[in-house]
Amino acid sequence: MFEGKGIRMGTKGRFGPYGGQYIPETLMNAVNELEAAYEHYKNDPEFVKELNDLYRDYAGRPSLLTYAKKMTEDLGGAKIYLKREDLNHTGAHKINNCLGQCLLAKKMGKKRIIAETGAGQHGVATATIAALLGMECEIFMGEIDTERQALNVYRMELLGAKVNAVKTGTRTLKDAVNAALREWTARIEDTHYCIGSVMGPHPFPIIVRDFQKIIGEEIKEQVLKAEGRLPDAVLACVGGGSNAMGTFYDFIPDTEVRLIGCEAAGEGADTPRTAATVATGKPGIFHGMKSLFCQDEYGQIAPVYSISAGLDYPGIGPEHAELFRTGRAEYVSITDDEAVDAFEYLSRTEGIIPAIESSHAIAYAMKLAPQMSKDQIMVVTVSGRGDKDVAAIARYRGKDIHD
């Protein structure tokens, strides 16, 4: 359940040295207006009720916590639970945030929603909620991503959204963010930019986290019910980091719980074909925030690569950067090969086809579980379902199947 009371708002959205509001002046009044509206509505009982009703009756929350019995037995270590965000309406955790932001935008009197998308999951979720709430919707997606996720493009169009293929730069997620930011500066009055991850200028990292923290809160309640104690580790994949932040947030004060973010190493964190920001990035200022970024010695943002369009981003949310700096969370890198193996492994072992993004977390669970004892518990967030990835994985394995 979403509960707005008691949420901590930092000073200008700082997480230690990270965060902030590094955006053109044109957008400043818009983010200030958003911050004020969020401060108001998160404590408004009517807004909170509407959102929680939608979570339950439309998105299908709470999502299940599934005991992965065969996987646990096969790996022979920690007891593994899967947090099933793949079972949400639209097939991923993204809807938690879209419901919150679009409802907020509607209360603010906005008529139009714009959003960036990588794999297309956030675009689909945004288009879905825009349809539900009767708002106009325009999605920005890197041209390369529109090719690797063609089915999602059609899905968004089916939902009434206009999809713009972004042809600048590396034609992937970061360029989609650039395009959405540029569009927002051109049309602010009636438009809300529904950022899809815990990134961007304040207040977005906080708002997105707050709408995603329901994941960790449910995990805590469900695991306590099933096991009578907290898990020893929680795992989630990290691109910008919204499902990981949602998974981690409620566990931050529980220091006995390990928080593990799984980044996309692409062909390897020691190769240039990688998107592992924590492993290879440095502090920088980009897309409205101070955080960690993959970049060269002159601060040019690096072209990043991962098989997963959703993790193919050269930065990470500022709160993750701070969790890494303070050592509260750990971040590991998973290669394309490992993720694809995990994609197939979970499909065969548990009958659950995970998104290629989520497969990065599954892959690390496969490494970590055998090193843990049988009386230990781990929870892995399956952030989305893998239907969208089936054709791409087939191609990766040399089978010519097209969407």
Partner: protein
């Protein structure tokens, strides 16, 4: 380095913008001298960035061309240093926060001072984050030029009071680029700023012909033009010097007689 005030001493200022290193650094040096010859009162030099969030397609392409041709912050600074003694008008840098942050804020401003750069315009550093740069700027006497936009409203006066060198008044919503018409009430933006401060107010974004330039100069202290010039550089490549000179002369004349 030359005081930015010099640009506004006797007349309204015309401020051309070019992307450094586009298409190469030799051309950049020639173009800078040509801008000065053609009547520019101050020049704005863009340090190319991989992801220029406030730019439209024309300047995005220029940044890509410059980077593809190997331009780096150091190489651009070296090129400017070579012609600095021939430049009698102030020069300022326009770039994004990350290239400055990664270079090292102190080292960046120190180098600016050494090569005769008088100020910096950093579009992704709004008023709320200006402290990110102010210490390093103050230490080396580099002006931190602030921006106001049509959406700034009650923020205009606060920003005007803190801006140094001049105040960059963004003419319209959206990104840089040629516009047929400027519909925002920029005159009132300038008026509000002047109520709070006597800092020179210059209008930029979308100003692409002498008629527009004259109109904007009539309600401000100066006019900035970027995409229209960068487009000429894009079309003519290394042979852009003369066509740029000719265009800039027409723009500068329009501003100076407004």
């Amino acid at each position: 380095m030359i005081d930015i005030k010099e640009a506004f001493k006797t007349r309204k200022a015309f401020i051309p913008f070019i992307t450094g290193g586009d298409p190469d650094l030799d051309t950049t040096k020639k173009v800078l001298l040509a801008l000065q010859d053609a009547g520019a009162d101050l020049v704005e030099i863009g340090i190319p960035f991989s992801d220029p969030m406030a730019e439209g397609p024309v300047i995005q392409d220029a940044d890509e061309r410059a980077l593809a041709n190997g331009c780096t912050t150091d190489l651009l600074m070296d090129a400017i240093a070579e012609i600095a003694s021939s430049m009698h008008i102030p020069m300022v840098f326009m770039t994004y926060m990350n290239p400055i942050y990664t270079y090292g804020k102190e080292k960046f401003m120190q180098r600016c001072k050494e090569i005769g750069i008088s100020g910096v315009i950093v579009p992704d550093v709004p008023f709320e984050e200006r402290a990110e740069l102010s210490e390093a700027c103050e230490k080396y006497g580099i002006a931190q030029i602030a921006m106001v936009a049509p959406t700034s409203e009650e923020r205009i006066q606060t920003i005007a009071k803190t801006s140094e060198g001049f105040l960059y008044c963004v003419s319209s919503l959206g990104v840089t680029g040629v516009r047929n018409e400027i519909t925002s009430d920029v005159g009132s933006m300038v008026g509000k700023a002047h109520e709070a401060s006597d800092i020179p107010c210059c209008i930029g974004f979308g100003i692409s012909n002498p008629e527009q330039a004259a109109k904007m100069a009539a309600v401000s202290d100066g006019v900035i033009s970027g995409s229209a010039i960068v487009r000429i550089v894009g079309e003519h490549g290394k042979d852009c010097v003369e066509p740029v000179r000719e265009f800039v002369k027409s723009m500068a004349d329009a501003v100076h007689t407004a």
